[in-house]
Amino acid sequence: MGRRHLQDFRPLRVRDTARLLFENNRIARRPLWYDVTGDIPPSQPFVRPLMQSGSHKSVKGRKPSKMFKPMALEFPEDALRDDFYGDHPWELARPKVILEGSGCDAKRWNWSRIVQPGKKLDGESVVQRQLWLMTNEFKTQSAAYDQARREFYHHRHLEEVGRRIAKEEALATGAYFGKGPLEVGMELEDKAYEQWKEWAAKQTEERKQQTAQMYTGPVEETPDEKELDDFDDTLEEEDQALLPERSA
């Protein structure tokens, strides 16, 4: 597979190659895709896109060599989004659905109110509602932000109340819930802590013994132990004296 460093245009020129092969009698007939590729030719490679006029003038230090590069896509929501998530960073920690259904999900939304059917109330709702207020009711950015976020807080509060009441009703009608994630976590933590306590106690004991040995030298036998040893010796002597008699 040599020549990889060179640009290889053969895939784009399959039709020309086939024509040449046929004209020079290298192949008996044209391949069956010959007419097809003639009727539906491949697109041109290496077409330089048009120079995009617009915001690149405002970008400082944009080199002339970069004039034909793709430009950053900017939307009016971006600044609003930054503001909202700057003020409410924990909104980013909430789970979010990024799956599109049919691709037309956003067409069904009407931001004259903040709650949309089929969309979870989240920071994006605030941003869209704020933008709608700014464009349709001509409010200033801060006034629109205030209104949108107050509506957001209100509906979040309602959601929370609804969730609490639903739980109460369920419990009243005989439902029971297992342990919550926090309880399960706490139990696991307690268990791990108990294990650690056992392990740590053992470690402390061992270390104490080691230090004791290090500072006191050889351990002398206590008088009780001496007596026990003597007793053992006498027992052994008696056993040995008894053994030959039994065997005989």
Binding site: D8, V14, A18, P42, P45, A72
Partner: protein, 394 residues
């Protein structure tokens, strides 16, 4: 809800006789025994079954005047009628209660019922994340014309370009399939196997979802030499008697290769370029568009996008095969006969006739090839068995 709070919460309404009924029910602990409830449901099922049996018996008409009706219609028992009416009443009362599931994305439908080329919309491509490119640092500048812009350090592919190139590729697949070409669908990334197989089934082509063995085209005699080939007529029926000729014949090459992950299949595309086989490939922003003949700029990392593209091309192939078979039913063969096959010798009279016809066809085809620039596909009239050998190794 705690019981001692009930009176507080419901205040005056709690004490009215109507409101006491649910409370009584809530407090009561009398429960129907399991046996009784099973017996009840069994009775109900039997009653409904009897009712249905009676209805069907009543509907069965006698075959003719001589033959008596098989069974006398049984009288509908009062119990069955009552239960049926009760069922109908409940349905009218509570049928509309509950929620309706709105139409939503079901991932398996892309495989079980893939979209056709006419279903390709920008919304579909957007929903399947065809627009997500790679990080800007990884781009191949040859793809500049397919790129819409940069968003958060990622190149965004222009979906109008994707749709246009996908429709163009679908047309190519349709036309090649209509001319009886062999189409190879390749997708060797994890998870692409099912959509590749489905596309190949629809287009009646070949599929590859494991490694491409290098040299399968350039050194095919060694690698695929032992694969079985067969000769079929224009109605795709196998024609026996060509076995000895097929043994010496060179192995088949695809007429069109559809590669869903060109980045991992450079060797395959290179071999196709060497043997001037047109290729279709999904080109992400980091791929080289000159590796393939017909690039489809799209996100090759999204399985949903790959399933949409594979499904569309498979449907296009299915359309081409349908056109070919319709033409064959009218007696038109949409492809020239195989040039290096002779009819088998054992049927002498038929064989000589066949040989003459095939020779005539071959001359005609050669003549057409040399003279016409051929805007229209060659349509050879079918009078006899005109054979084409087609791949069997799947």
């Amino acid at each position: 809800m705690i019981l001692r709070h009930v009176a507080l919460r419901h205040a005056r309404r709690t004490l009215t006789p109507q409101s006491l009924r649910p409370l009584k029910r809530f407090v009561s602990s009398e429960v129907e025994s399991a046996d009784a409830s099973v017996q009840n449901s069994l009775d109900e099922v039997q009653a409904i079954a009897a009712h249905i049996n009676s209805l069907t018996a009543a509907q069965a008409p006698p075959i003719d005047n001589l033959t008596p009706s098989p069974a006398q219609p049984a009288a509908v028992s009062a119990e069955a009628a009552e239960s049926y009416l009760l069922f109908k009443h409940r349905e009218s009362q509570f049928g509309a209660v509950g929620s309706v599931v709105a139409p939503h994305y079901q991932p398996h439908t892309l495989l079980s019922n893939p979209p056709s080329p006419s279903d390709v919309t920008l919304e579909l491509l957007l929903a399947s994340e065809a627009h997500q490119g790679h990080a800007t640092a990884l781009w191949n500048p040859a793809n500049a014309r397919y790129i819409h812009g940069i968003r958060q350090g990622t190149h965004i592919i222009a979906l109008d370009q994707t749709a246009a190139h996908l429709r163009r590729a679908a047309k190519i697949v349709t036309e090649v399939a209509r001319r009886g070409g062999l189409i190879l669908f390749v997708g060797t990334r994890a998870g692409q196997d099912r959509c590749v197989v489905k596309a190949a089934q629809l287009a009646q082509g070949c599929h590859l979802f494991e490694r491409w063995i290098p040299g399968s085209i350039t050194n095919g005699q060694q690698i695929l030499g032992k694969c079985r080939t067969k000769v079929v007529n224009e109605k795709d029926e196998e024609v026996p008697g060509f076995e000895d000729q097929l043994y010496d014949r060179s192995v088949l090459k695809p007429d069109l290769v559809v590669c869903l992950n060109p980045m991992e299949n450079y060797v395959l595309l290179r071999e196709c370029g060497d043997h001037s086989i047109p290729t279709i490939g999904v080109i992400d922003t980091d791929a080289d568009p000159t590796w393939v003949t017909y690039p489809i700029p799209a996100n090759d990392d999204s399985l949903r996008c790959i399933q949409v593209i594979g499904g569309v091309l498979g449907r296009a192939g299915e359309q081409g095969q349908k056109l070919r078979q319709q033409a064959a039913a009218r007696g038109i063969v949409t492809y020239p006969p195989a040039s290096d096959l002779k009819p088998p010798a054992h049927t002498s009279s038929v064989a000589s006739q066949l040989e003459q016809t095939i020779e005539k066809r071959r001359q005609e085809a050669a003549l057409i090839d040399r003279t016409m620039s051929a805007e229209e596909p060659q349509e050879v009239e079918n009078k006899d068995d005109l054979e084409d050998s087609r791949d069997e190794e799947r």
